[in-house]
């Protein structure tokens, strides 16, 4: 440690004002503060001691909360492949090869996302002369988890760069952005390259192998939507889906645990809930948003039941909670403190509306099988409005008090 410290201290003058590399100061600083917490002390006036938390620790907590989703996603990527090409049927058969394949597919995406995001972040830090923001630690992990494993790497890079620049840096960096950065990346891919991130063909990695006869790569949401169109009961349609591969692939339990095709990290409601437990336990994410997000989706599912004109609307609302990316989105995307509602009352409304909108988009819109992405982005835009009214109510209470 001491050697490292001395090395840094020796290089430091190079990056300070007047040094040869002064333009790169913030890069040096980022590296230095990553290795060593700075020796800054509190000022003459004001709080003389500070809480042990900092933004780096907060952000790394979110990254750790995503690790269950990531590991599960890797294994599931391999599992879905082996299942589709007919090599294994059992869940835990061929554990090693499955994990290895998942690793081979997922790790490059993670690396590319981090590298692309990190480069943009560094470039802006140098040009705009601000410290490198820790926000991209989370963004770089979120993006890989919401794309299919078959996505070309250049698209991962492009989407990451687009999102970090357009959704974050143009507003001034972490803390100033309006939209969730990772969701923006996904929306960019969705609208720019729909062939690689929608439809029935992209969710299961096949490689150069042919799938077994009768294989369908559709997601549960697509199956449910089509059942609604065809007038077939959704639960029956889900139960009989892909029966060539095995029984009950889209059973409720499987949907909940996440042994289904989909984006890398979003298939497992269970893993998202473990993440939620970490985030809520550590107090990093708002439990109000998470609870109200699930509640909103369930309530809207019930309302759909009441007015059901097709089988999809009549589907049990609990299915909405386990299909698609709702759980992942509500736990990791909706709770981004910067783009979410910032008042405590606002968080209830914000989360609830995300759940409600997700189900509305899923069920009533033929173009978008999944609703969470657009629901989160839409509510990101409306969060300041919600806060505006919550803050206004606070001001009003103060005014009324004065006249009493």
């Amino acid at each position: 440690m001491k050697f490292l410290r001395e090395l840094l201290d020796k290089q430091k003058p190079l990056f300070h004002k007047g040094g040869k590399l002064e333009n790169l100061y913030y890069l040096f600083e980022a590296g230095e503060t990553f290795m060593f917490s700075p020796n800054h002390t509190n000022g003459i006036k004001g709080a003389q001691v500070k809480d042990a938390i900092d933004l780096k620790r907060m952000m790394i907590t979110v990254v750790v909360a995503m690790i269950p989703c990531l590991l599960f996603g890797m294994y599931n990527t391999g599992h879905q492949h082996f299942l589709a090409v007919g090599e294994t049927a059992g869940l835990w058969e061929d554990f090693g090869p499955k994990m290895l394949l998942g690793l081979q597919l997922v790790l490059p995406i993670v690396i590319v996302a981090y590298a692309a995001g990190g480069l943009v972040e560094a470039a802006f830090a140098v040009i705009r002369k601000h410290p490198i923001n820790e926000g991209f630690l989370v963004t770089g992990m979120l993006i890989p988890l919401v794309v299919p494993a078959s996505l070309p790497l250049w698209q991962v890079a492009l989407a990451t760069i687009f999102a970090v620049v357009i959704a974050k840096e143009v507003f001034g960096g972490t803390g100033m952005n309006i939209l969730n950065v990772a969701m923006t990346a996904r929306a960019f891919l969705y609208f720019a390259y729909p062939a690689q991130i929608s439809g029935d063909q992209v969710w299961t990695y096949l490689g150069d192998k042919a799938p077994v006869d009768g294989f369908s790569g559709a997601t549960a949401l697509a199956v449910a939507y089509n059942a609604g169109v065809d007038g077939e009961q959704v639960s029956t349609a889900l139960a009989s889906h892909n029966s060539v591969l095995g029984d009950g692939l889209f059973s409720f339990v499987n949907l909940f645990v996440g042994w289904i095709p989909g984006s890398i990290g979003e298939t497992s409601t269970l893993m998202a809930l473990i993440g939620a437990a970490i985030l809520i336990g550590t107090g990093v994410a708002s439990w109000k948003i998470i609870v109200s997000g699930f509640a909103g989706a369930y309530l809207m599912g019930l309302i759909m039941n009441a007015f059901a004109v097709n089988e999809y609307m009549a589907m049990g609302p609990e299915y909405h909670l386990v299909m698609g990316g709702l759980a992942f989105g509500v736990v990791f995307m909706a709770t981004d403190p910067v783009s979410a509602s910032q008042t405590e009352t606002g968080k209830w409304i914000y989360g609830l509306l995300i759940g409600v909108l997700t189900v509305i988009i899923r069920v009533t819109n033929p173009a978008y099988p999944e609703g969470i992405m657009l629901a989160v982005l839409l509510m990101n835009v409306f969060a300041p409005l919600i806060d505006f009214y919550v803050v206004k109510a606070n001001k009003k209470r103060r005014l009324q008090r004065a006249t009493v």
Binding site: R5, F36, G43, Q48, A52, P337, R398
Partner: protein, 454 residues
């Protein structure tokens, strides 16, 4: 109608180095100082003494040309040894070398009976001339009150919930008579109520138990329940255009002594606290004392930060610096100017945190006393985390929105979000818990200045 207010929000910072309840004699303090910078809102200080002058305790040293009837007086008798000025001749300190035996200027003396019939005019004249007036603080803005105002109420917080704060029931023991007289004088100054707020969580100070003429309210809950600003918010909040006054219990006792004994008595019992002090106890001295005698030989380590006041709102001073005018304690903590390898991700149970993010384990030991140093523990960032400030501010106020309004210099927004109700100490906890390490108190004062001088 006395009130009981139960507060839930807040956070007690528990530190090592609480003062033992005993009076310890250190070597006698030789010099004392009045620092005009302690008086927020003092605009044009004018010194009325010269170096070499001999003064008695209670003799005027300076006044503010903007409010010239209020005299700032010498806490002790002795010789003016230095009038220290900084850049642009800004007045920094007036130092007095104290006599061994303090002699006092004499003011009009009243008996308890005579106090009952004291007129407001006579009261004001004696208070402003007798040196105790700077103890009256005006809300909004937290500045020295203007004697020509008529406050809607006067608030006294009878307890201090700051980290390692002195126990006022100990430091004010035996002062009941003066405290009562002080309250009697306060009643002349307002048409409203004199509120005396006591701690519902402790036995209650015997000093306050028999006080008459004030409305006694009880507050329970973690810090900042003892902050007078928080108490005002729950009793009779200050809105735009309104004025309330606050005064510390020490100030009330000083007022009482001024009228009953006819002297300006600046003697006070202060607490020597903090993890780096060998002896943590109370000691008797005078306002503005040089801290060298309390610090020298009393340090565990030389590399120590000396704080006049507490760790949340205090001020770093030199080892031979002077106790702030409003401070009743000094806190000695380790300096934190060191690097820590991977300090941002290492699990730690020895550093205090209000949060529970990964590896911050202090929440598992809620009753443990911590040693905290002056390290910032991170770097300043934009506001990211939400809802934390609100959870340590037991007032119906949205601190982050207010701070953003100040940074944007949006006057209307500042007013509407309640800047009139706050001074630095009310948001000091926000500064402590802030993930993004903003200088919250400094920002707030900037906003108050904008409003006050606009």
């Amino acid at each position: 109608m006395s009130k009981l207010v139960k507060l839930k929000k807040g956070f007690d910072i528990k530190l090592v180095g609480k003062a033992e309840k005993k009076i310890v004699d250190f070597l006698p303090v030789q010099t004392f100082a009045i620092k005009p910078t302690d008086f927020i809102g003092m605009q044009r200080p004018k010194v009325v003494v010269n170096e070499g002058d001999i003064v008695k305790a209670g003799a005027p040293l300076l006044f503010d040309k903007a409010m010239d009837q209020v005299l700032y007086v010498s806490p002790v008798s002795g010789e003016i040894v230095e009038i220290k000025r900084g850049e642009k001749r800004k007045l920094l300190e007036i130092k007095i070398l104290a006599d061994k035996e303090i002699s006092f200027e004499s003011f009009q003396k009243y008996s308890e009976q005579e106090l009952k019939s004291l007129s407001k005019q006579d009261a004001l004249a004696q208070l402003t001339k007798g040196g105790v007036w700077p103890q009256f603080i005006q809300r909004p803005f937290g500045i020295v009150a203007n004697p020509s105002d008529s406050p809607k109420a006067i608030f006294v917080s009878g307890f201090d919930t700051h980290p390692l704060a002195p126990d006022l029931s100990f430091t004010l023991k035996g002062m009941e008579r003066f405290f009562q007289a002080g309250i009697d004088v306060l009643k002349k100054l307002t048409t409203g109520i004199v509120h005396l707020n006591v701690n519902a969580d402790s036995e209650g100070s015997s000093v306050f138990s028999k006080i008459q003429g004030a409305q006694i309210n009880s507050f329970s809950g973690p810090h900042p329940a003892g902050n007078v600003g928080v108490q005002i918010h729950h009793l009779n909040p200050v809105s735009k255009g309104e004025i309330a006054w606050t005064i510390s219990p020490f100030g009330v006792v000083q007022v009482g002594k001024l009228f009953l004994e006819g002297i300006y008595d600046a003697s006070k019992i202060i607490a020597i606290t903090g993890s780096e002090a060998k002896i943590t106890a109370y000691t008797k001295t005078y306002l503005g004392a040089c801290v060298d005698k309390f610090v020298a030989g009393n340090l565990v380590k030389e590399h120590t930060r000396v704080i006049s006041g507490n760790v949340l709102t205090g001020e770093k001073i030199n080892k031979d610096g002077y106790l702030g005018y409003y401070h009743n304690q000094i806190t000695l903590i380790p300096e934190g100017d060191y690097y820590e390898f991977l300090g941002w991700m290492k699990p730690t149970a020895s550093k205090l945190s209000y949060h529970r993010a990964l590896g911050l384990l202090s929440f598992l030991t809620p009753n443990k006393e911590f040693v905290l140093d002056s390290n910032v523990r991170g770097e300043e960032r934009a506001f990211v985390q939400t809802g934390v400030f609100e959870s340590v501010t037991p007032m119906d106020i949205l601190p982050v929105y207010l701070l953003k309004a100040i940074l944007a210099e949006d006057y209307d927004e500042m007013e509407e979000l309640g800047i009139y109700e706050l001074v630095e100490e009310d948001l000091a906890l926000c500064e402590f818990v802030d993930v993004s390490k903003h200088p919250v108190q400094e920002i707030l004062r900037k906003g108050i200045d904008l409003i006050q001088y606009s």
